[in-house]
Every structure is written in structure tokens, then in C-alpha cells.
């Protein structure tokens, strides 16, 4: 770093090549977001695949990776989810050194507020399950909350704050960094990262994958992993597969930067208000999802309004804050609000999607087990439950039924 600094930053190497696609790859990953790049990274690193391509229709990390509120936690209710997200959290804890690239994982803790008796019951149930699963998760009394977040108004509001669950190891990370970090290291291991290359059609022949028709021509492949969030179902259709996904707009916003004021991540599903403060000083605030399907990366202002009015109620000092930027992403949601990390009926075709509003925290974990699934042609025990088959058998991992906690 220093050497480069004092010769005027002239000699920084390119972080990744911009190759043209070859006509054949052992594996093609469709989607250059965190999950996709991570999958390529782990395929190369842990499974020895060398001839891999990641194709991205736009620019790396330009989708939901660059549009989320970067909350990371693993305190999920059901065992299957808990194990998946805990696997991911453990990877996060070593990612900066693993990639030798600072993803700025900040373990400032994540709080989920309870506003009524029902919340309390659900949260205490979740804490108990977390603890038995070996996940750090504790109950905070109102007083303890006030100590951690002095600016919070806990009493003088319509739905008073009655307590919270807290995961100390949770926190936030720099969203772009994880895409760039994975990309750099995957590229070093020979993975071709091809931007501006849009997958148009998945080509199959008698139940086996052939390759991908792209805006840069047809590319043959033995295996194809689709990690294109909402567009996964659009691509799946081209292979005659219907995924149980719906794509909906999700919005987020940041405030103007101010000096540090809130030192942890606070989530409240009851009033749709999730907030943390970025290292730059901006309040990063997650808003709700629109009810209808859309691919426009744009939602209604009423959603923003809902969130902000909860914010100023919960944090009276925010009354004088201002919204700096507001944007939308497209989240792909499964009927049970849990992801799909699965093989498909077509040999060599795999899907990793349906992350809904909770995908960022899972990035390394999802990529890691998906790589395993692709390499071994069978799921890792951690993602076995997240198969497409579950919708037929009815063995759902229902994360909105019980633990109605926004991700």
C-alpha cells in the first residue's frame, strides 16, 4: 500500500481481467453478484475447478449486492436456516483475511425489537432455539436496550419497546467490497469474469445441460449455476422449469452523514424500521417491499413514508435528519421466505435464488454450499433442506410463518 501511495498510485494492477468468453467452460455461473462471484471463488478454491466463467449482464455487484442494507446475522428460528446462516457468519468472520481484502465486516451486534406480547413470545422462542443451536443470541430488557441505544424512544410511542433479541456477532459489512473481493481472487485463480454479457437462454438436450445462449454468443458448459435473483425464474423458464419465485421491489435509503449516533444494528419488523450507521456516518435504513411483482427497481413512495414515520417515532432525534438517497432493488421471494439452493430436474443445471430480503448476510455461506452442490452434483448437508423438492413434499422452511422477522 505505502509504496504505491508515495509513487502516486500509478501502478495499481487491474483488479480483474476483462476476457472474452471461450466457447466451453466446465461451469458457468450466471450472475455477477456476491453469491455468483463467491460460488466461482469457492469452486476454484475448494473444488479445484479451473475452467469457470461468471457472466454478468451489467456490472459486478450492480444488482442486489450493491442495493441492500448490509445487515448480517444468523439468529434464525428453524434449524435449517440457523445452520445455513451461521455457516455464513463464520465465513464472514474470516473473509477479510481469507480474501486479503477488507470487506469491513463490523460486528457491532444486531437487535430485533419486540413491541407486543406476541413479539416477545416469538423472540424468546427464537433465542431459545438459537442458544441450543450454539448461536449467540440473548434477550435484552428495555433498560439494556436504552443503554446500547440511548437515542431510542422506548416508552412514549404507540407500540412501546418491550425488549429485544440481540446477537453480538451480527453486524454489517461493505456491500461492494465482497463482490470486488471475490471477483479479484476468483480472477487470480483463472475464473473468467465477463461483464456486459447477458444470459438469454439456457440450452438443454434430453434432460442435460448444453450451455448458455448469451449476448456474446453461445457458450457450452458441463454445468450451469443460475444465481440471478429475480431473473433466475425468467431464465429457468427458457429451460422449461418453473421456479416458485416472485420478484418484488424492495426499497432502501440513506440519510445525510452525521457523527456516530447509533452503534449497533436495530431491526423492528413490527414497525418496518431497520437502521444502522455506515462508517461514513450515513444512517442506512431498510424499507419495506411492495405487494406487486416488478422488475423496475422502483417502488412506491408510500413504502418510504411507512419506514420514516416509524423511524422518527422510534428515534426522536431523527426528526431533524434528512433523506439523502433512496433507491430500489428487486427481491425474489419464495412462498416460505427461504432460499432455493438446489439441483434441478435437468442434469448439470443448478439454482441459487429466492433470498428475498435476506440474501446479503448469506453471501459467503450460500456461495460456499452452492459451489459444493455444483461440484459434487449433490447438496451439502447444510443446504439439503433448501431444495426445490420441498414445495412438492410440503416440507417447507417457513421463515415468515413463525419467526416473522424481516431478514
Amino acid at each position: 500500500m505505502a509504496k504505491n501511495a508515495f509513487n502516486g498510485h500509478k501502478d495499481w494492477p487491474k483488479m480483474w481481467r476483462s476476457p472474452e468468453p471461450r466457447e466451453f467452460y466446465d461451469a458457468i455461473i450466471i450472475g455477477g453478484g456476491g453469491h455468483g462471484l463467491g460460488t466461482a471463488y469457492y469452486l476454484a478454491k475448494e473444488h479445484g475447478l479451473k475452467n469457470i466463467a461468471v457472466i454478468e449482464k451489467g456490472w459486478l455487484g450492480g444488482g442486489n449486492t450493491g442495493r441492500n442494507t448490509t445487515i448480517i446475522r444468523s439468529n434464525y428460528l428453524w434449524d435449517d436456516s440457523a445452520h445455513l446462516y451461521e455457516h455464513s457468519l463464520k465465513l464472514w468472520e474470516n473473509l477479510s483475511s481469507d480474501l486479503n481484502y477488507n470487506v469491513m465486516f463490523s460486528q457491532r451486534g444486531v437487535m430485533n425489537l419486540a413491541h407486543n406480547e406476541h413479539d416477545i413470545k416469538e423472540i424468546k422462542r427464537r433465542i431459545s432455539a438459537n442458544n441450543l443451536n450454539g448461536i449467540d443470541s440473548l434477550w435484552l430488557s428495555k433498560e439494556e436496550i436504552q443503554k446500547k441505544v440511548p437515542i431510542m424512544n422506548t416508552d412514549n410511542l404507540r407500540y412501546p419497546v418491550l425488549g429485544a433479541s440481540y446477537q453480538p456477532r451480527g453486524g454489517t459489512a461493505r456491500h461492494d467490497a465482497i463482490a470486488w473481493g471475490f471477483a479479484m481472487r476468483a480472477d487470480e485463480m483463472g475464473v473468467d469474469i465477463i461483464q456486459n454479457c447477458e444470459a438469454l437462454q439456457i440450452k438443454t438436450k434430453n434432460g442435460k445441460i448444453e450451455g448458455v445462449e448469451t449476448s456474446k454468443g453461445f457458450i457450452r458448459a458441463n454445468k450451469v449455476g443460475v444465481v440471478a435473483s429475480g431473473h433466475s425464474s425468467v431464465l429457468a423458464e427458457t429451460a422449461g422449469i418453473r421456479l416458485p419465485l416472485q420478484s418484488k421491489p424492495l426499497q432502501a435509503l440513506v440519510s445525510e452523514p452525521i457523527k456516530p449516533i447509533i452503534d449497533t444494528v436495530v431491526m423492528s419488523s413490527a414497525v418496518h424500521a431497520y437502521v444502522s450507521q455506515s462508517d461514513k456516518g450515513e444512517l442506512v435504513i431498510g424499507a419495506g417491499t411492495d405487494s406487486y411483482n416488478s422488475f423496475t427497481q422502483r417502488g412506491g413512495f408510500d413504502i418510504i413514508e411507512e419506514t420514516i414515520r416509524a423511524m422518527v417515532e422510534l428515534y426522536p432525534v431523527f426528526g431533524k435528519m434528512k433523506m439523502l438517497r433512496q433507491w430500489g432493488g428487486i427481491v425474489d421471494i419464495c412462498p416460505d421466505a427461504s432460499p432455493i439452493i438446489s439441483k434441478s430436474d435437468i442434469e448439470g443445471l443448478f439454482f441459487n435464488c429466492g433470498w428475498g430480503t435476506g440474501g446479503f448476510k448469506a453471501t459467503p455461506g450460500s456461495a460456499n454450499v452452492f459451489a459444493h452442490t455444483i461440484a459434487k452434483n449433490e447438496p451439502h448437508q447444510i443446504n439439503a433442506a433448501f431444495s426445490l423438492e420441498r414445495f412438492v413434499s410440503g416440507k417447507l422452511v417457513d421463515e415468515h410463518g413463525a419467526a416473522a422477522v424481516a431478514h
Partner: protein, 992 residues
């Protein structure tokens, strides 16, 4: 103070002196001054420190595009990041500069400048990782975060701001020359029109520069006055001043915020902000243009200002930031500045133009020669130097020769951009104009029209032609406006984005984003690292991610990148701005829908009685329900609930069940409809009888339950859970309308029409006999699970014999207006029999003893009727009902699913805790496999120990076995798994 000879045009009232505090120092300005204009009057230019390097920064602009002059308004709950260039002063206002310590003049943070070579693009990602992981968490990260942010956090503030919705045909954004002309041409047409302007004085460019000498032979100011009067008189146009359109959403939905306390302290009891939500058919954007700056060495020093801003301070605020500034431009837009300065009897110290002589307007030449102003054509500023203000300017002339001028003020113009912020928000497409070197609106995505410089039409003499052309569709009045200019100019510019420094050192800086301290060097580095797409670059360097969103600089960045990559600008990317146009107050967005009005409180018809009788309330959805009724302040919840429960079991108690959902269903096919909606079969049911029923989702999971009363084959009344009321009615409506439109059936919600009182306990019958002497409550006349209609005084009531407590009981349904009457009757007759009111907690305890479930507590969307042991609710012979098919899927027919059981602690003194899990081993080593969890648990006064309901794997076959329950402190207690009923298993008391 610098007074001007002529301030005729200015809107500052020089007769009204105003004093305010800046960093504790008393400053004088005039009514109408912004903080910035007042500071400039007092020759103060240093107003803040920059974000990363804490470099001294001055006032760079005269408007909302300001990147530097952000201040904290102490006197307004310490509002941070307020633009000094638009915030009007008032007497006693307290202002503080930001991001400096201990003081603006000597700031410790500026030490960062010395390390500046390290603070290059993306430096966070490459550093702060070693030598050990813990260094990041314990040392580096805290440091970075402490350094974050611009202003200090504000003070607690409960805003008084309101919302106002508009439905109109046309919105005109901006009331400058074009906006006023457009409005004028639409006066008294049959369109409802809103004319919105951010300023409190309409006229825009007319007030901000000396470009225009006359309009229709009137002085520009007279013309504005008469035009505005005409518009105000019109019946169809409404003007909103001090209102900024911040957001342009889909379907012409605009958000605008109005400042109601311009130039005065916000008041505690008056509306300070109005958020306008505007729905319109057409939008006419007349929001003008924004001037660009230029990148050269130390182009951030105080004393540097945009040329048009300098002119605006003269014309708009009647102050002259400097008597003899140097002017540096690459375009014709700054010509009028020279004219304005000369008008004031001063002249620029030098005029430097990068354009070659022949490209410069002859009129400008004449003006410059006439006042012999030193002129450098085909020349550039290589850089400036100075400490807290610029002192020297280094010029490279056409021959390449270098010369130095001493000056404390420099006006720069890098050209102008149409203000496309709102246009791109509306999803309109832009085209790069190679001649004017800027992006211009091309293809609107919505019914959007752009006029004047907002559309890239920079020629002031052509405005009325453009309006006549573009507004034809509105059948507007054709304009023939004569506009005469002081400085002949048809916009002309020569490409210039960045000037490389004369001697480049690793400390030398040419800024491309002033607020975020992004230098052109950072851009170069990012590109060399492969970030060749503008969105990537933005994120990597944080260029144009500041509170100004790079209004004066983002195009320059594109220009520089396109040169470096040797691509066309439109190949590098376009500028897409994200809403809002300028930072938008949270308080304004929240409006009155927060604080006391955050969410309605739904109240039972006898809510007041509960308050008068000391009820403690519980929030159930929006409802306020009595949770328990403590005898006095000293009685704890636990004691109250134990007492209430005992009392109901021994005597009687009554619960206000009015919040329960009630739905009346009627129609020729009502019976078949009910059979499809609920699991049960109602075919064999006798009219006048009632039945407990379950409703499933199509996934086969229990969604709601209730009691169905059959009035006739065609007429039913269903109750639902409090939370499920709306969902169940919605579900019925959905299926009736979409799946079975052939069925003749209608349903109305009668939840609000009827109050419901659930009275139960051994003494119930005696009490009922007293209250309703004419009704026979004997078992034969009024058996369990039957109901009867009766007239009570002048209204009709319905009494249902049912119970949720396990004791014999009745539910009384009575029109809300008469509810209080009966409630009082029950109590006055009941007290001799020991009747008490009880709350939801006691109800929960009693039903749990009886093994009755609560939807959402004992179920969680993953439980089938079979799991609950409620197979008897399923109409075996029925062909179909919601969710039926799902009950026979491979996973739902498993016999080892999680099933409802009862549990009791093996040691009776142990306490079970709700939400804790059932496990097989006594000792916990994580991860421990879990059988399931405790859904409900209470201390039973009747059993004398703790008990619970639980859903556990293969529960039904585990009944009679032992296991362990975890406790909050990570220990376990031994438990016994039993049937989920702890009280009166034979239902003797129910039917007694």
C-alpha cells in the same frame, strides 16, 4: 461591509439589519440574506472543513448545488448539514461550521492532509487488516467510525409538519423565465395547474443575472411582477413558493416540500413544513440549469466560486463577494458576470478563457477592451495556491508561458448542464450533446415536457418559440415575447475538464468531488484498477455520493474518464440521479402520521369502563384489550391473573370479547360455501346450533378458528380470532368472487355492530337468570353449543352457549350502542354471585388448562389439524375444502410430525417457560437436537403447579414418556409429556 451602488434588483431589505451567531461570533446581515450572502458581506469565506482531509473550504455556489458550505443550525434543534447558500438568516439564529475541531481556523483533523497519499480511492479495502484480525474490530474500525460524518447529530425534535395531496392536470416545476411564460400561456385554460418554485421570489435567471435587459419593453423585474399578478388572478393556476420538488415518481407522482418558516425560527405550534404529494397528468420541467466547476490544482480553496453564483450574489443579494475577482471560463455563460461587475463600477482583475480568440463573442471582446481588463485567451489556470484562502493564481497562456496573478478571489465556469435530476428520476432518457458538451433530455418516459435550459435550449431569445411549439397540446395562448439581452450570447463552449498541475507532487490535489474529497488522481487510480464503468467508479471512489450528489461535478468526472479511456462520454455512462433532488426532511416525510397518530387505537364499545376500572391493556393488533384487572396498584400481574382464574373456576367471570371477528354469511349456496371454507361439515347441523371450526390455508396449515352458528341452511354467523377478522373475511370474499362465482352467497362483517361478552363459571346460569329473567337457561332449553335470538329492551341480541374457559358459559352478542347497559347489568346482578371482569391473560390461562389452542401462539403456520389432534373437525365425507389436498402430501401424512401435547414438570416446583425447547438429554451440548418448543405455559392455580402446551416431534406417540425442557439460563428441567388437557377432560362442567 461591501455595499453596492445599485441594488435595485436585489431582494435584500437593506433597511432591516439582522444579527446572528456564526461559531459564536456576532455577524450582521440584512433581511433576505442567506447565511452565505451575509458571511460574504462580512468578507468571511472559510465556512467548513472537508470530509476526508479536513481542508479549509469556502462558499462555492449560491444555491442548492452547494458542496462545501454546510453548517449546523444550533438554534433549530441543531440541524446538521444545512446549506448556508439557501438558508435564510433571522435575528438570533445560531450557526456553527462543521467537521472541525477545536475550531475552524485550527483543525486537528487537517493532519489527515499530510497522510493524504494514503487516503486514496478504495484505501479502506486494502488496509486496516493486520497484523491481527482483532486490530480491525478493536482499533481501526472505531477510529474510522469516529472520523465519520459531517455534522453533529441533531437534538430531539417532534416536528409539526403536515401533508397535502393535490390532484391536478399540469405541474410546472420552476417559475423562472420559462415557467412564468408557460404558466402565462395557460392562464384561464381548463387545466388545473400547479406552478411550483423553490424560491420565495419568482423569476429565476431574471433575478440571478444581468443577462436580460428587457422583456416586452418592460424591465425584467416589472415584467415578472405583472406576470405573477396575472397568474395569481387566474382561476386555474395555483402557485407554491418556497417549495422544492424533490421526487418525480412513476405515473407523474411528485413529492415536493414547502418551507413554511423561511427566514424565521421554526415555531412549536405552527406547521413548519408541508409535504406536497402531487398527482398530475403532465409535468412541465422548467427547472433550469446548473453550472459546472473545473478541476485544477487546489481548486477547492476558499475564494473560489462558480461564476454564475458570483453574479447571483450581486443581482439576487446585492453583495459583491470581491471587487476584483479573476474569472476563468471555457464558455460564454460567464460573459454576463463581467457585465454585472462592470455595472457595479468595478472590473475583473483578469479574464482567462480557454477558448481561442476567434471563438469568443465579439461583444465580449469589445466590453473587455473598453474597460481594458487583462485578457488571456486560449489560456488556462494551472493551479492556485494559498492557505485558508487563495492568494496566487498560476496562468498558462496560449504560448505556454507561465504568469502569476495575486488575487483573493477566482470565479470559474466549466459550462452548464440542464438540471436533468428530476427528468432522470422520471426515467427519461438522456442524450450526450457533443456541441454543448452536456447530457440533454431526449426521450421522456412519462408525459413530461422540458423547457428552456432544462431541456438544453440555452438561447434566451428562443424561449417563446419553444413554448408555443411544445405546449400546443394544451391549446395554450400563443406567445410572442420580445426578449432583449444585455450580453449577446448563444451558448458556446470548448472542451475542458481538467488542467494538469504545473509541477505535480504527491500532495498536490485537483478535486473532482469537493464534498467527498475525491481527486482526479483517485479517478485515474480506480480506472487503472479496472473500474471503467461510471457506477463502479462512483462506488469505489465515492465520487458524487455526497449530499450534493455531484451536481456541479459529476459531468466533469464523466469527461475525465472518457478522455482517459479514450471513449465517448455516452459510452462511459450517463448521470442517473436518485431521488430526492435535495436531502428531504424525515419530519416532513412522516408528517402527522407519526407520534400520537402513528397507528389508530381501536376501542371496544365499553373501553371507558375498562379504564375506569383500572384495567391494564394489551395491544392486540390495533385493538386495546384489557389484559388483567389489578385490584390495586400493589397487585402484580401474576397475582391478579391467579386471582381472576380462581374466581372464574369457583364463581364466575366475564370477558369483553368484542374484538372477536364476526361475519354474517347468507345466500342460496351459503351451506356449500361454508363447507368449502372450513374443514368441518355443516350439512347435518341443526339450525340454532353452533360448532367449533377450523380454517386452513391451501397449504393445509391451520390459519384461523372460530364458532360457526347456523341460523338456517342459507344463513350463518361465523366468529374469527381478533387478529384474523379481516383476513378471514377477505379470504371468503376472494374465494366467493374468484373461485366460486357461481355460488350465491354474500358476507358482511358485523364485528363492529355487536359487542361480545363471554361470561363463564359455575355461577353463570344464576346470573343470567337474573339479567334475562324471561329466558330459560336450563340445559334442556338451552343446551351447550346452541344459540338463541332475544329482544332485550328495544334491541335484538343473540346468546350463544359456548365457553373458552372450560366452565359452563354464554357469549352475549349485543348491538354496540346498548353494550354498556348490559355490561353494567351483568355486574350489578353478578356481584352477589362473585362475578368479576377478567382480561386476556386469564382467558389464556384457563383455555390452556382446558387444552384449547390459540391460533398464532400454539400454531405458527406449520401445523395441521391432525398435528393438533383436531381430526374430528375435518368433514370426512367432504369432497373439498380449503387445503384439503395438502393434508395428504408426503410430508403432511408423516406420523412423526410436530404435534400438540401437554407437558408438566416432573418436580412440581419447577417452572416451565414459554418458548423454551423440549430436548432428550439432560445436559446441553450445542448444537442440541430439539423435539419442539413450549407454545404456552402458565402457573395453574387449580393444579397448583406450572403446566404447558408444546408442539413436539412425534408428540402424540410420546405421550406418557419423559423428556427435558430447556430454561432461559441454559439449564434443563425434567418434564412429563401428557395429553393436552389438564382440566375436566370429560367436559362435565361445560354441559352442566
Amino acid at each position: 461591509m461591501k455595499e453596492l451602488k445599485t441594488n435595485s434588483s436585489s431582494f435584500v431589505n437593506f433597511n432591516q439589519k439582522i444579527s446572528f451567531l456564526f461559531d459564536g461570533k456576532k455577524i450582521f446581515g440584512f433581511k433576505g440574506d442567506t447565511i452565505a450572502s451575509a458571511l460574504l458581506r462580512n468578507n468571511i469565506n472559510l465556512v467548513g472543513r472537508s470530509f476526508k482531509y479536513h481542508r479549509p473550504r469556502g462558499i462555492y455556489t449560491c444555491g442548492i448545488e452547494e458542496p462545501n458550505a454546510l453548517v449546523q443550525i444550533i438554534s433549530e434543534y441543531s440541524e446538521p448539514n444545512t446549506r448556508a447558500t439557501i438558508k435564510k438568516i433571522y435575528e438570533g439564529m445560531e450557526v456553527e461550521s462543521q467537521n472541525r475541531w477545536p475550531s475552524l481556523d485550527n483543525d486537528i483533523g487537517s493532519i489527515n492532509s499530510l497522510f493524504s497519499p494514503l487516503f486514496s480511492a478504495g484505501f479502506y479495502y486494502k488496509t486496516f487488516m493486520g497484523p491481527h484480525k482483532s486490530f480491525w474490530k478493536k482499533i481501526y474500525e472505531p477510529i474510522i467510525r469516529r472520523a465519520a460524518g459531517l455534522g453533529k447529530p441533531p437534538k430531539e425534535f417532534r416536528a409539526l409538519s403536515s401533508h397535502l395531496h393535490h390532484n391536478v392536470d399540469i405541474v410546472i416545476v420552476g417559475a423562472g423565465l420559462n415557467g412564468l411564460l408557460a404558466a402565462k400561456s395557460l392562464i384561464n385554460t381548463n387545466h388545473d395547474i400547479l406552478l411550483v418554485d423553490f424560491d420565495n421570489h419568482l423569476g429565476g435567471i431574471i433575478n440571478n443575472s444581468a443577462k436580460i435587459s428587457s422583456i416586452d419593453n418592460q424591465s425584467p423585474q416589472e415584467w415578472v411582477k405583472s406576470t405573477v399578478e396575472a397568474i395569481e388572478k387566474s382561476k386555474n393556476i395555483k402557485i407554491l413558493k418556497n417549495t422544492l420538488v424533490t421526487t418525480y415518481n412513476y405515473i407523474n407522482h411528485l413529492i415536493a416540500v414547502e418551507d413554511k418558516h423561511v427566514g424565521s425560527r421554526p415555531s412549536e405550534n405552527k406547521v413548519n413544513n408541508i409535504l406536497h404529494k402531487i398527482r398530475t397528468d403532465h409535468v412541465i420541467l422548467c427547472n433550469g440549469h446548473i453550472e459546472r466547476f473545473l478541476s485544477f490544482q487546489n481548486n477547492d480553496l476558499p475564494g473560489i466560486m462558480l461564476a454564475s453564483s458570483f453574479e447571483k450574489y450581486i443581482c439576487r443579494y446585492g453583495t459583491l463577494p470581491s471587487k476584483e475577482p479573476v474569472i476563468f471560463s471555457n464558455n460564454s455563460n460567464s460573459n454576463s458576470l463581467i457585465y454585472s461587475i462592470i455595472n457595479q463600477g468595478y472590473k475583473p482583475k483578469a479574464y482567462i478563457d480557454s477558448r481561442s480568440g476567434e471563438n469568443i463573442e465579439p461583444e465580449l471582446f469589445d466590453l473587455i477592451r473598453k474597460h481594458d481588463i487583462p485578457l488571456y485567451t486560449n489560456s488556462q489556470i494551472k493551479g492556485v495556491s494559498g492557505g485558508k484562502r487563495i492568494e496566487k493564481i498560476l496562468i498558462e497562456d496560449s504560448t505556454g508561458g507561465l504568469s502569476e496573478i495575486h488575487s483573493d478571489f477566482l470565479c470559474v465556469s466549466g459550462g452548464i448542464n440542464p438540471d436533468v435530476h428530476l427528468f432522470t428520476q422520471s426515467k427519461g432518457l438522456l442524450d450526450w450533446d457533443e456541441k454543448d458538451l452536456t447530457y440533454k433530455p431526449s426521450k421522456p418516459f412519462q408525459p413530461t415536457i422540458t423547457l428552456g435550459s432544462a431541456s438544453g435550449q440555452f438561447n434566451l431569445e428562443k424561449v417563446s418559440d419553444e413554448i408555443n411549439e411544445k405546449l400546443k397540446i394544451f391549446k395554450n395562448k400563443v406567445l410572442d415575447t420580445q426578449i432583449v439581452l444585455n450580453t449577446k450570447e448563444s451558448y458556446q463552449i470548448e472542451k475542458l475538464w481538467e488542467i494538469s498541475p504545473h509541477k505535480s507532487s504527491m500532495w498536490s490535489k485537483s478535486f473532482i468531488d469537493l464534498q467527498n474529497d475525491v481527486t482526479t488522481k483517485d479517478i485515474r487510480q480506480a480506472i487503472s484498477e479496472g473500474f471503467d464503468r461510471i457506477e463502479h467508479l462512483k462506488r469505489y471512489t465515492t465520487n458524487s455520493m455526497g449530499t450534493d450528489q455531484g451536481k456541479i461535478s459529476s459531468i466533469n468526472a464523466l469527461g475525465i474518464v472518457s478522455d482517459l479511456l479514450d471513449k465517448k462520454v455516452n459510452e462511459v455512462g450517463t448521470t442517473i440521479y436518485r431521488p430526492p433532488y435535495a436531502p428531504l426532511s424525515f419530519a416532513a416525510i412522516a408528517g402527522r402520521n407519526s407520534y400520537e397518530f402513528y397507528d389508530p387505537e381501536r376501542k371496544s364499545p365499553i373501553h371507558q369502563w375498562h379504564i375506569d376500572n383500572g384495567a391494564i391493556f394489551e395491544d392486540v393488533g390495533q385493538w386495546k384489550r384489557p389484559w388483567y384487572f389489578p385490584l390495586n396498584s400493589s397487585e402484580s400481574m401474576h397475582d391478579a391473573v391467579q386471582r381472576e382464574s380462581k374466581n372464574v373456576r369457583e364463581f364466575a367471570g366475564v370477558l369483553d370479547g368484542s374484538t372477536l371477528g364476526k361475519i354474517e354469511i347468507k345466500g342460496k349456496d351459503a351451506l356449500s360455501f361454508m363447507n368449502l371454507i372450513y374443514t368441518n361439515s355443516f350439512s347435518k347441523m341443526k339450525p340454532g346450533s353452533a360448532r367449533y371450526a377450523l380454517m386452513l390455508g391451501e397449504d393445509g396449515m391451520v390459519k384461523d378458528d372460530g364458532i360457526i352458528s347456523k341460523i338456517s341452511e342459507e344463513h350463518f354467523i361465523a366468529t374469527t380470532t381478533t387478529g384474523g377478522a379481516a383476513t378471514v373475511l377477505g379470504c371468503m370474499e376472494e374465494y366467493a368472487q374468484t373461485e366460486w362465482p357461481n355460488l350465491n352467497v354474500y358476507m358482511n362483517s358485523i364485528t363492529e355492530q355487536f359487542a361480545t361478552f363471554n361470561i363463564s363459571g359455575p355461577k353463570t346460569r344464576e346470573i343470567m337468570n337474573k339479567v334475562f329473567p324471561e329466558i330459560d337457561f336450563s340445559n334442556d332449553a338451552f343446551p351447550f353449543m346452541t344459540f338463541q335470538f332475544h329482544n332485550y329492551q328495544d334491541t335484538q341480541i343473540r346468546i350463544l352457549r359456548a365457553s373458552f374457559t372450560g366452565e359452563m358459559g354464554y357469549e352475549i352478542y349485543i348491538p354496540s350502542k346498548n353494550a354498556a347497559k348490559i355490561w353494567d347489568q351483568l355486574h350489578s346482578f353478578g356481584k352477589d354471585f362473585g362475578l368479576i371482569p377478567y382480561g386476556t391473560e386469564t382467558m389464556h390461562l384457563l383455555r390452556a388448562e382446558k387444552g384449547y389452542i390459540i391460533i398464532g401462539q400454539d400454531t405458527d403456520g406449520s401445523i395441521t389439524p391432525i398435528d393438533l389432534g383436531l381430526n374430528w373437525t375435518i368433514g370426512k365425507t367432504k369432497q373439498d375444502f380449503l387445503g384439503k389436498r395438502s393434508l395428504t402430501r408426503t410430508d403432511t401424512i408423516r406420523t412423526d410430525r410436530k404435534q400438540l401435547v401437554g407437558i408438566t414438570p416432573s418436580n412440581k416446583e419447577d417452572q416451565l417457560t414459554e418458548g423454551q425447547h423440549i430436548i432428550l438429554n439432560q445436559t446441553i451440548k450445542t448444537p442440541t437436537p430439539m423435539l419442539g418448543h413450549i407454545t404456552s405455559s402458565y402457573q395453574s392455580p387449580t393444579l397448583g403447579h406450572s403446566f404447558g402446551l408444546a408442539v413436539i416431534k412425534d408428540g402424540h406417540s410420546l405421550i406418557g414418556t419423559k423428556a427435558f425442557a430447556s430454561t432461559p439460563d441454559q439449564k434443563t428441567i425434567p418434564i412429563e409429556i401428557v395429553k393436552p388437557v389438564f382440566y375436566d377432560e370429560e367436559n362435565k362442567r361445560l354441559v352442566s
